[in-house]
């Protein structure tokens, strides 16, 4: 929750209480969520590409939904549950999330810069709908920019996880 001087964020099942202010390590009211994640908390798995909410590289999951962290102010995120790419592994076993494993198994990436965003977009979809149609997967990923053209293998990877779900 946001009090006058602090903000509480829940990221990857960890709680962070951050001061609001303009000193290093604090959250300035102008800071975007991606800035706080990358620069203040060191969670650099979330990538910045366009910085304008057009490419999906900075996607994280917030309260179950895929959102663009470059277009959200951190001060708006008080009390929210946020999952970044660093939080997908099973915290107890260290095992990769099935989507992460499928992206490796299908080589569903080339340069890999847009991969965290794609995995989190797919994760939010599968959490909401464990058995999406191909059309729904394509729709969900339609805001994720990829220039190497790994789309075909991303689709296969996501389908493989959806099909294996109970």
């Amino acid at each position: 929750m946001r009090s006058k001087d602090t903000i509480q964020l829940y990221i990857n099942n960890n709680s962070y209480k951050l001061d609001i202010g303009d000193r290093p390590g604090q959250v300035d009211p102008s800071h975007t969520l991606v800035f706080t994640l990358r620069e203040t908390l060191g969670l650099t798995g979330t990538k910045i590409s366009c910085g304008q909410g057009a490419c999906g590289a900075c996607t994280v999951i917030m309260d179950g939904k895929a959102v663009l962290s470059c277009g959200i102010l951190t001060v708006e995120c008080g009390g929210k549950e946020i999952i970044t790419i660093e939080g997908l592994r099973n915290p107890k076993t260290g095992e990769l999330d099935p989507l992460q494993q499928a992206f490796i198994d299908y080589t569903a990436f080339q340069c890999g810069y847009c991969t965290p965003g794609m995995i989190l977009t797919s994760k939010a979809l599968l959490n909401k709908n464990p058995h999406p149609s191909e059309e729904m997967i394509l729709e969900a990923l339609s805001g994720n920019f990829c220039r190497c053209v790994s789309h075909y293998r991303v689709l296969e990877a996501v389908i493989s996880v959806a099909e294996n779900r109970e």
Partner: protein, 761 residues
Amino acid sequence: MGKEYRYVGKPMKRRDGEEIVTGSALFLDDLKLPNLLYGKVLRSPHAHAHIKNIDKSKAEAMPGVRTVVTWEDIPDWRGGTPRNVRVLDKKVRYVGDAVALVAAVSEQIAEEALPLIEVDYEILPAVFDINAALKPDAPLLYEELESNILPGGTPIYGPKCLKGVVYGDVDKGFEDADIISEGIFGYENIPNALPPEPPGAIAIWEPPNKATIYGSSQAPYMDKVSLYHVFNREVDVRSIGHHVGGGFGTKLMCWQVQAYAIILSRATGCPVKITFSKEEQMTSFTLRVGSRIRAKVGMKTDGTITAVQGTWFVDTGYYSFTTQCQVAVGSGELQLFAQCRNWDLQNKIVVTNRNASGATRGFGGQELKCSLIPVLSLAMEKAGLDPLEVIKKNFIKPGGGYFWRNGEWYDYRGIDFSEMMDRGAERFGWKDKWKGWLRPSAVNGALRRGIGVGVHGNADIGEDAAEAYIQLGYQGTATIFLCVSEHGTGQKTNYARVAAEVLQIPPERITMSPADTLVTPFEFGPVGSRGTYAISSAVINAAENARKQLLEMASRKLGASPEDLDTVDGKIFVKKEPEKGLKWSVMGNDRTILGYGRFEPDFTMCNCLMSFVEIEVNTETGETRLVRVVNATDIGQIIDPVGLENQLNGCWGSAGIDSALFEETIIDRKTGNILNANLIDYPWRTFKELPDIENVVLETPFPSHRFHAVGIAEITTSPGPSAVLMAASNAIGTWLQQYPVTPDRILKALGEKDTAGRSEG
């Protein structure tokens, strides 16, 4: 099919897979250094102006700002070919040109300081296209040049650098022709390859004359070389590479952002990071060249091209670094495409007041071919010839030859690609679908389908030298020292794979050094599809060399000659008596076996990709849809089947096929502003619009390296654009001759066709 190998050609997971999917792969912007400052660039709002005065006092006084640097504060450091571009100058030459550099304790403060710098400009008249730049009284971008034309040739390709294609007798060629076609066509829409990761650099200055660069470049060793020249051969640069978030040739050179970071670090004594914004990437980082050709072509009724004459105008924007290279390579590639005997194809490299063009995949050849093929298509239409047959007839075959980039003639010793072209055509169903020029292959009400075919080949698969070391470990392991950053092709995995094949140890036992010029030998960089033939040859040779040293050492202990020995899985044994053996630990843990491998440039072979496309056009709305693509290639030996498929699928991304359908950089030709420098206004294909792609891959062994393979990835974007133009023209039954085939262009062409039809009737 090639020989059976243990690792080569087998599906294999990427070595960096876990890092990529967990977000722990380090890209440049992820690096953190103590006392890091952040740099920003003040950019010119004018296309052409003298800087009369700069007042930086307010910006310097801003808390958190550590330095503001302008042209007055630095020596005369320059880049470019010729070396006429100052890193910071008292003149600006495009909207976005660097005026001042700021370093501050945060990116935000650096950004806020920019508008505090007061600049007094004297605005000059500007030239925004080739025609304006070539007028006799045109304003000159560089006073030291007599015109806006840059000299041809580049020292790095040698004194005879190819400056055009001029040989044979074109007059005789036209006499021998049955059909002559001519026209002016271009590929001038400047599609942006647009890697998702913006370019950037971190620099650490070390007095008096050293600097370390952490770059986002796809060719880290060449950064060391190019920056050495930029800094008047006075600064020794150590260059360290990382994961690169896409390059597509544009990140072959990042000298400007790197030079800015070095200058700011030198001024502050702290490490400085500069990351370009997406807008800066699209307005002030390498663009594709603009290409226009005025050409005349002679052809026989059997499809033989008898003469090519004309001038190729290359718009390089406000300066060139590699454009002369692209002209040389493009001119070479055109000869692979058309084994014509009579040429008079010259060129002019023109500077204009827009952001500079530089390296991009396709590297001159894609641009030139996209411009020339419409002229050839007119001849093929007149002769009623099937373009597939004309391409097949004219593409290089054994017995052929060409002048390559260094101006030398090469007798071709590669393979015949005809069978590959036939197999691709068969998969596509070309013969059934081809109904003749300007005829749709299918009509369904307002929806009309058309087909097209294009081809590209590049003899740069063996360009430039490559070097690698391989160190063997006594526990049956190996380390590769190689200056390559992973930029998406998966080649780092493949270098470990080929080394594993030579050494016969599992790839998991192989470690790779970072790309660090302090640690590794020279390597030019994975560009021009040279990653497979050139770079992996260096790795293979290093592995062979290390293996030889190992077997020589073991031979003394085993009492057998090295030729009678073999090694598998870290054991050395006598081939005829496999039970008689030793482990690699025979070398002892106090000795290093270091193999060295070098690859010498070889321009005697080329790769080849043919792309067939099917386009559907809605004749009521002008909308187009890419329905299907079939790519055909013959690459000798598949090294990495999954990586190959991924790279071939890349045919429409990074300014390939889509550069003919909808991608373009829109420049206001009155002010020089780029109007769509963001990912909202610059169109790109989404997951919802995926065309069907099929890839036909043949494996006819090449006389290349130990595994007889050649690379293909760079050129996968190149055959498609001209094929789209052909397909869309066939679909609507009239010529489309401009890229991209936007709805307004299609409707306009249909309207003109309609009007012409009525007046004729």
